[in-house]
């Protein structure tokens, strides 16, 4: 495979395209509403209405506006795409008939809706456009060019420099500078190094990585290959949770296709660079999203974290230097290589560069996936793109960062969404879950929900996380049942501090965050549930 061959594939594929393309979203969300039947019916209707010379029906990945799904988009009829929403399999005939000018009373979406208009797409640029199961589609939009450029025109150190220049920070949630991590792995001595892509997305309400893997698997593979070249690795592992079967099957197809074309394997682009990717399927433990636990799991051991240092960059998988990045981090790489680190650094804020994908869910009108530039005010996301709370209710709070994050009250909606600003509010960027709550939500219940989640997902290795989350959940239950006193609340706060500071890994260290942030902003909701202390005269002495 050389660049000419790649271009030839792209040209041939573009030439074979028909005038009108009917794109059917076949990501997990729309699939659950029978998108496969919709696509089959659309194909049937095209033939029945004798339009097959001009019309092709294409399977595509996530279009983003999940709350309005199943979605069907049509290109080549009007200047802008036509977007059909809430489609059922029996609507297929009418959609195809509309191509001939027939009127339909199907729901048609507005492509200029702020939900779409305010997005800046880098990671999700191909989502909803290309067929995730056809490598030719990916190549036709410039796929694997970045890998070629890196391999033939750049030294590994230049690749690292470009990533460093871009200012990209880890999209898994912690926000560690990606370039710095790559540089450390590149410098770590060792003949064998590994690349791991963390696709164990497990936060409640998060489905960003799932969508990227289902919609554009090659983008992630290419990003991993570039990373491997930069740090000197020849083996990658893609760790995907078993709950994402569609993502797994599309990745398997993608790896097979890339191997067949020589874009993965030995001597890629006729250079000495070799790179293979294997998929490892997680068995359903949230803690395996923690990097050291994930590596244990890849090694075939019980998925429990181990203390760091040593960091994976020095001693990771099988004791070798390992680069481990999140799906979204890898998905940013090709754009950075193609357009340059400076271009990427031009998007976002001073310390948070580029874009971030969020899964906007909860009590909000427009549910779905959005990709926005860093630094966008939270209000624009929630009120303009999301349309605010439904049923005339008020937005009360926005939860970011899942069980490791916190609840940001509505009064801080003007906060720019970047790593530092969210941290200052007691929440975190996290991997991109954004759950909106309206004024009917009880914040103590929310805190309890996340605590229960952490208790269930604690691996059981370290005592503070294992036994501490159990006690904190008990105390929250006691408060909710109106059986707790001030002393119990004090105990809860003391445990939050202890579990945060003494737990072994990020799961335990951040488990108290939902309690701490709701206590910070909604303390009155806790206090309203407290009972007077009838414990005895010693009570006053205790305080």
């Amino acid at each position: 495979m050389q660049i000419e061959d790649l271009n030839a594939i792209a040209e041939k594929h573009i030439a074979s395209r028909k005038k009108i393309i009917v794109r059917t979203c076949m990501s997990a969300g729309c699939m659950s509403s029978r998108a496969d039947a919709i696509k089959a019916n659309l194909e049937k209707a095209v033939i029945e209405q004798q339009l097959d010379a001009d019309v092709e029906v294409r399977r595509v990945g996530c279009m983003g506006f999940c709350g309005q799904g199943p979605l069907v988009g049509i290109d080549g009829v009007k200047e802008k795409e036509i977007l059909f929403e809430h489609i059922k399999p029996e609507d297929a005939e009418a959609i195809i008939a509309s191509l001939k000018g027939m009127q339909t009373n199907l729901e048609i979406g507005d492509p200029d809706h702020p939900f779409f208009a305010k997005q800046t797409k880098i990671v999700r640029a191909n989502g909803g456009i290309i067929d995730p199961e056809k490598i030719e589609d990916y190549i036709a939009v410039g796929g694997y060019e970045a890998l070629h450029n890196a391999l033939t025109e750049m030294q590994p150190a230049q690749v690292v420099d470009e990533v460093t220049k871009s200012g990209l920070r880890g999209r898994g949630g912690a926000g560690f500078p990606t370039g710095l991590k790559w540089g450390t792995v590149a410098k770590s001595p060792g003949a064998k190094k590994y690349i791991i892509c963390n696709g164990d997305e497990g936060d409640p309400g998060a489905f960003m990585d799932r969508s990227v893997l289902e919609s554009d698997p090659h983008l992630v593979l290419e990003g991993m290959a570039i990373a491997a070249y930069a740090v000197g690795s020849d083996q990658g592992f893609l760790y995907v949770r078993a709950e994402y079967p569609l993502a797994i099957s599309r990745l398997q197809i993608a790896i097979k296709q890339a191997k067949a074309l020589g874009l993965l394997g030995s001597g890629i682009f006729e250079t000495p660079f070799n790179f293979n990717v294997d998929i490892r399927i997680g068995a359903g433990a949230f803690v395996c999203g923690e990097e050291t636990a994930l590596m244990m799991s890849v090694e075939g051991k019980r998925g429990t974290p181990r203390p760091r240092p040593p960091f994976p960059a020095e001693s990771g998988l099988f004791g070798c230097p390992t680069l481990i990045n999140n799906v979204e981090s890898f998905a940013n790489i090709t754009a950075i290589i193609k357009k340059g680190g400076d271009w990427y650094a031009g998007i976002g804020t001073e310390k948070s560069k580029g874009t971030k994908v969020f899964a906007l869910t909860g009590k909000i009108k427009n549910t779905g996936l959005i990709e926005v530039p860093m630094g966008i005010p939270l209000r624009q996301i929630v009120m303009e793109m999301g349309g605010g709370a439904p049923d005339g209710r008020q937005v009360k709070s926005v939860q970011t960062g899942g069980p490791s994050g916190g609840c940001i009250p509505a009064e801080f909606l003007d906060t720019p969404v970047d790593y530092e600003s969210l941290m200052k509010l007691g929440s975190i960027m996290g991997s991109g879950g954004m759950v909106v709550m309206d004024d009917t939500t009880n914040m103590v219940e929310i805190a309890k929900f996340y605590m229960e989640f952490c208790k269930d997902e604690s691996c059981g290795k370290c005592i503070p996380c294992r036994a501490g989350t159990t006690q904190m959940e008990n105390l929250l239950n006691k408060i909710i049942a109106r059986q707790a006193t001030r002393r119990d609340l004090a105990k809860l706060e003391e445990l939050c501090d202890m579990v945060k500071n003494t737990s072994l890994c990020g799961l335990g260290q951040t488990a108290p965050n939902p309690v701490l942030s709701t206590l910070k902003y909604f303390r009155n909701e806790y206090e309203e549930l407290l009972q007077p202390d009838t414990f005895g005269p010693g009570v006053t002495a205790m305080k």
Binding site: F535, G536, P537, G538, V539, A541, M542
Partner: protein, 182 residues
């Protein structure tokens, strides 16, 4: 000098802690003029009096009587001392808690029906046999307790160490092996 009003009570426990208290032997004589035992299983007093200075509580809170008494004690006593492991940790009496929600029923069933050789019947006499609580609790989960004297039973020297500090008007503080459970 006015004598310190001391009470000792026996909730759900084996009386071992009180036996250990009696093991204080001649120390009891030494302190006899400094304390007045106003309520105790070894003194014939029916009603827990008002204005008690220190109460040593043996046993866990197991039944309705224990619960009523402990609240009365708290209201009428300045300083409560959890005396022995049953009071401090609920210990052996709380082992029934492991049997789940209906544990009080199942222990009675086991004791009075399954293991009975003659006349298997669960004793019931309202107002005489107190009902078992749903769960056995250590004393400090029910009322505030000032000091803890662990041990099963606490050896006499440990009780003595605490008593000396109390009588000297100090805040009792036990350390190291003096705090050993079991």
């Amino acid at each position: 000098m006015e004598r310190l009003k001391i009470a000792t009570v026996w909730l759900g426990g084996c009386a071992g802690c009180h036996m250990s208290f009696l093991d204080l032997d001649e120390f009891l004589i030494d302190i006899a003029d400094k304390i007045e035992v106003v309520f105790s299983p070894i003194a014939d007093v029916k009603e827990y009096p008002e204005g008690v200075d220190v109460c040593l509580i043996e046993g866990a809170v197991c039944n309705a009587d224990n619960l009523e008494l402990i609240h009365k004690i708290r209201a009428r006593t300045k300083v409560l001392v959890s005396f022995g492991d049953c009071a401090v940790t609920a210990n052996v009496p709380a082992m029934r808690n492991q049997f789940g929600l209906a544990n009080s029923e199942s222990v009675l069933q086991r004791a009075y029906i399954e293991n009975a050789q003659y006349n298997p019947v669960i004793p019931k006499a309202d107002g005489i046999v107190p009902a078992l609580l749903e769960n056995v609790q250590p004393v400090h989960e029910v009322v505030h307790v000032e000091f803890f004297l662990p041990g099963c039973p606490p050896p006499a020297d440990r009780i003595k160490a605490l008593m000396i500090q109390v009588l000297a008007g100090q805040t009792p503080k036990l350390e190291g092996v003096q705090l050993k459970f079991g």
